[in-house]
Chain length 191, copies 2
């Protein structure tokens, strides 16, 4: 975990771990089997630790929004951790606690079972997506082409105002707020 958070998943190697522990590389293999098993164990610990969700506020809409924001915030704080979980294909398990509390809030609304299941999935997908995109953006701050090269006045004829907006870097947090609000409102009002 220390290696992961300090130098990233790329350099979390069996040999680096052995060195950190002051032990022969092969000792790791005796204890955990192989690298796959090592990562599996690490991810299980992460899931047990990070999964916890605090729900705050009054009223279903506010409470559901707070779940989304808290989860997104937790994940954004630990990009390397999210990377391992994703790599091990355990994203679903990581999100299970959030799924649990979301179900609780949505059943309180008295929605039909089918709609609740879809709404929970949609909200969680939105969060996963937003986090993955955010990580992507921060990992590549200079996306090679500048916005000015990507947009020509031709794309947005007679609209210098829009061109200015499009040329600014996207505020991921704002996008997330907007999408989540729209989605939750639709769910709560039963569309």
């Amino acid at each position: 975990m220390e290696i992961l958070e300090s130098v990233g998943i790329e350099r979390l190697t069996v040999r680096a771990l052995a060195a950190k522990l002051g032990v022969a590389v092969t000792a790791i293999y005796w204890h955990v089997g192989n690298k796959q098993a090592l990562f599996d164990g690490l991810v299980e610990r992460i899931i047990a630790q990070i999964g916890q969700i605090r729900v705050r506020g009054q009223g279903p809409e506010v409470r559901i929004l707070s779940i989304g924001h808290s989860l997104r915030h937790t994940l954004l704080e630990r990009p390397n951790v999210v990377a391992v979980v994703h790599r091990q294909g355990r994203t679903a398990a990581l999100f299970q606690p959030a799924r649990r509390v979301l179900v609780r809030e949505l059943t309180a609304l008295g929605l039909p079972a089918a709609e609740t299941a879809v709404a929970v999935g949609a909200i969680l997908n939105l969060i996963v997506g937003s986090v993955l995109v955010d990580r992507q953006v921060e990992r590549q701050p200079a996306q090679q082409a500048t916005p000015e090269e990507l947009w020509t006045p031709d794309d947005v004829p007679d609209n210098p105002d829009l061109l200015r907006y499009l040329s600014q870097p996207v505020d991921q947090q704002e996008l997330f707020d907007y999408s989540l609000r729209v989605l939750v409102r639709a769910v709560v009002s039963g569309v």
Copy 2:
């Protein structure tokens, strides 16, 4: 590209490419510099090929939905390709053509510039997220814990109907349809 699509990004190595070309490993280095540059070049080609979007249908809502579905479909067909683009941090560039046509459709709606920029970002984020989650799900079909273990009757008291829904594997396509529809409707109606 052939290696990528046939055996996946993991095994797309400089040495594998050299072997496929019947050439010494070091020849690759003379031509493209290093692996990073090799991947960069590959990704540029992919972006030029895959970015193209067909917009179909009449009316802004239908046309925007068609953009979303076409893009998602294209990306889901080539999971390995998406993986390289994502790894090289060029997702934004891959989505530029879609961004372009989305802007065109939304300006036709006559929305204020600020709202158009946010709406475009939100829709694209939804698509990226849905594709990444979908790839995740299919890469790990057996998510270790079965739904039956994840949910206890305690989580959904007195609601066996909901429990049944939650225990089924999530239909990612349905989730995407739902979220996109909600989002586009909100944008079109100017919420």
